[in-house]
């Protein structure tokens, strides 16, 4: 876990639009995650961090009632 954390923090921050394109994140999902976290596609973030946000958001309960 410690080494993973070092890897993520050592990543270079990129524009979200770049990370989304490089990782083939579909627009439907990418826009939803950005809306959930108040992010804009021009914001910058480490790629690993965004991917973790995507994963966490997808697995989070949504209600459904």
């Amino acid at each position: 876990m410690a080494s993973k954390k070092r890897d993520e923090t050592s990543e270079e921050a990129l524009r979200l639009s770049t990370i989304i394109e490089q990782n083939n994140i579909r627009p439907t999902l990418a826009n939803a995650v950005m809306a959930a976290h108040g992010l804009k596609s021009s914001d910058r973030m480490e790629p690993g961090r965004l991917l973790r946000l995507v994963e966490e958001w997808c697995s989070a309960p949504a209600g459904g009632k």
């Binding site: 579909r26 958001w57 309960p61 209600g63 459904g64 009632k65």
Partner: protein, 463 residues
């Protein structure tokens, strides 16, 4: 709206030879949690008996029944969630020999009972349906024969042979591990949204319980992408969070005001042409006469499916709602109208009527009412379908291709105009020499619809 026809324009057959059957203008795509049916599989539902038989229970079934009561005729229904299939492994001593797995996920399959009997050269497997206690019996001289007989003779489980030894005799075995997957994740909704995109004929979508700005964003992003990429014209019916007073029967004025304020706050920064919000709940009766509360979204959607294209939802009364929860005050109604949120109200002598039919577009957008959006998208669908046979055909040198394309696209639009489904339309075909060299044509379709009476009625209700 503009429809971009990509690639070659056909020229070498006579216009009029193309027969295009237009899609119905009221196909709804509805996804939600259910206790029956396969996951992420489209079921076309037009009657309540079929819906109950497939989905058994859950929010999806309620959404379907409320729609059908209100007038829906064609619904693409999709079960979502992380439900698991029940299974049972038959053993010979310690060895696994035959695996039986339920054909669909769900807790109800845990009640499927299995008996194994026989000795010597023949074994018999009996499978009992928990719904009706019907028992299916299968005999075989080998496990291959048993498995083949089981798989060919019933609709509850799928059998797989794991080893040649006969299963041990046993009575009253049951499948286990089946779950309903009741708690939906954001990922479940994303899967459903993406699954919906393969049905271009769908007129509008509703993901039951997707009531957060992030999920609204996902749904409308999908709608926008489909429209902009000429894949299909659709808009979204969006849910607001549930009304959860301490006592459903006696909500306080403050609870209702908080509900309204929270809804308006939640969507305050959310605008999208394809977004149609409904707020409020109704008291419904199920088929056994038991009362339950649910959002009015599905009932309103069913009502919309029942009215002709271009006909306003304003003043329409969805069937099946016994009472409203809450009844919004006049001040709250004004708040909701100004926030582009649809709701129901009680009109003396009429019943529960839809108070306003406005979608939630950004400032400056023109498609600001549901029925207008619906009419424009229906016309776009018909134009796209009529143009489809022209795709992939070679251009001609005389420029007749554009003329034939225009004639074929005009045919269904003219029919819509004559039926009153649209008020008027303008069709413009452009293919510059540069576009022509690329095999492209730009089709620009503008559709007008009527609105005068709505403005008058809205003022009457509000003043």
């Amino acid at each position: 709206m503009a429809t971009r026809i990509i690639k070659d324009v056909y020229t070498e057959y006579l216009s009029g030879s193309v027969v295009v059957t237009p899609p119905p203008s009221n196909i709804e795509f509805v996804a939600g949690w259910a206790e029956g049916g396969e996951l992420l599989k489209r079921y076309t539902i037009s009657d309540k008996a079929t819906a109950k038989a497939i989905f058994r229970d859950g929010e999806l079934l309620k959404a379907l029944l409320e729609r059908l009561d209100a007038g829906s005729s064609i619904i693409y229904a999709v079960r979502i969630g992380a439900a698991l299939k029940a299974a049972l492994v038959l053993k010979s001593g310690e060895t696994d020999v035959i695996r039986l797995e339920a054909l669909e996920p769900g807790a109800w399959c845990n009640g499927i009972e299995v008996d194994v009997s026989g000795a010597g050269a023949i074994r018999t497997i009996e499978i009992t349906d928990p719904d009706n206690d019907a028992t299916y019996a299968f005999s075989g001289e080998t496990n291959d024969a048993l498995v083949a007989a089981v798989n060919g003779g019933q609709h509850l489980v799928k059998a797989v042979k794991l080893a040649d030894d006969f299963p041990d005799a046993a009575i009253g075995l049951q499948l286990t591990g089946g779950t309903d997957g009741e708690t939906l994740t954001n990922g479940d909704y994303i899967d459903a949204i993406e699954y919906s995109e393969q049905f271009p004929e769908v007129a509008w979508v509703h993901f039951v319980g997707a009531d957060t700005p992030a999920l609204w964003t996902a749904v409308t992003t999908s709608c926008r992408n489909m429209v902009e990429n000429v894949l299909g014209e659709r808009f979204a019916i969006l849910d607001m969070p549930r009304f959860t007073p301490l006592d459903l029967q006696k909500s306080t004025p403050q609870e209702v005001q908080d509900y309204v304020d929270n809804a308006i706050s939640l969507k305050s920064e959310f605008t999208d042409r394809n977004a149609v919000f409904f707020i409020g709940e109704g008291r419904f009766l199920d088929s056994d006469g038991n009362a339950y509360f649910n959002r009015v979204t599905s009932a309103c959607s069913g009502k919309m499916a029942a009215v002709d294209l271009q006909k306003s939802l304003l003043g329409e009364s969805p069937a099946g709602i016994v009472s409203l929860l809450p009844e919004f005050t006049r001040g709250q109604q004004v708040q909701l109208i100004q926030a582009n949120i649809n709701y129901l109200r009680t009109q003396a002598g009429i019943g529960k009527i839809i108070a306003l039919s406005v979608n939630a577009p950004p400032a400056g957008e023109t498609y600001n009412r549901i029925e207008k959006l619906r009419a424009v998208y229906a016309a776009g669908k018909q134009a796209r379908l009529a143009a489809f046979p022209h795709l992939g055909r070679p251009n001609d040198e005389g420029g007749e291709g554009l003329k034939l394309l225009e004639e074929d696209i005009k045919r269904p639009l003219e029919l819509m105009r004559q039926k009153g489904h649209i008020d008027s339309y303008q069709l413009e075909m452009v293919s510059t020499p540069e576009m022509r060299s690329l095999g492209e044509t730009l089709v620009r379709l503008s559709v007008n619809s009527m609105k005068a009476f709505e403005i008058i009625l809205t003022k009457v209700y509000l003043d």
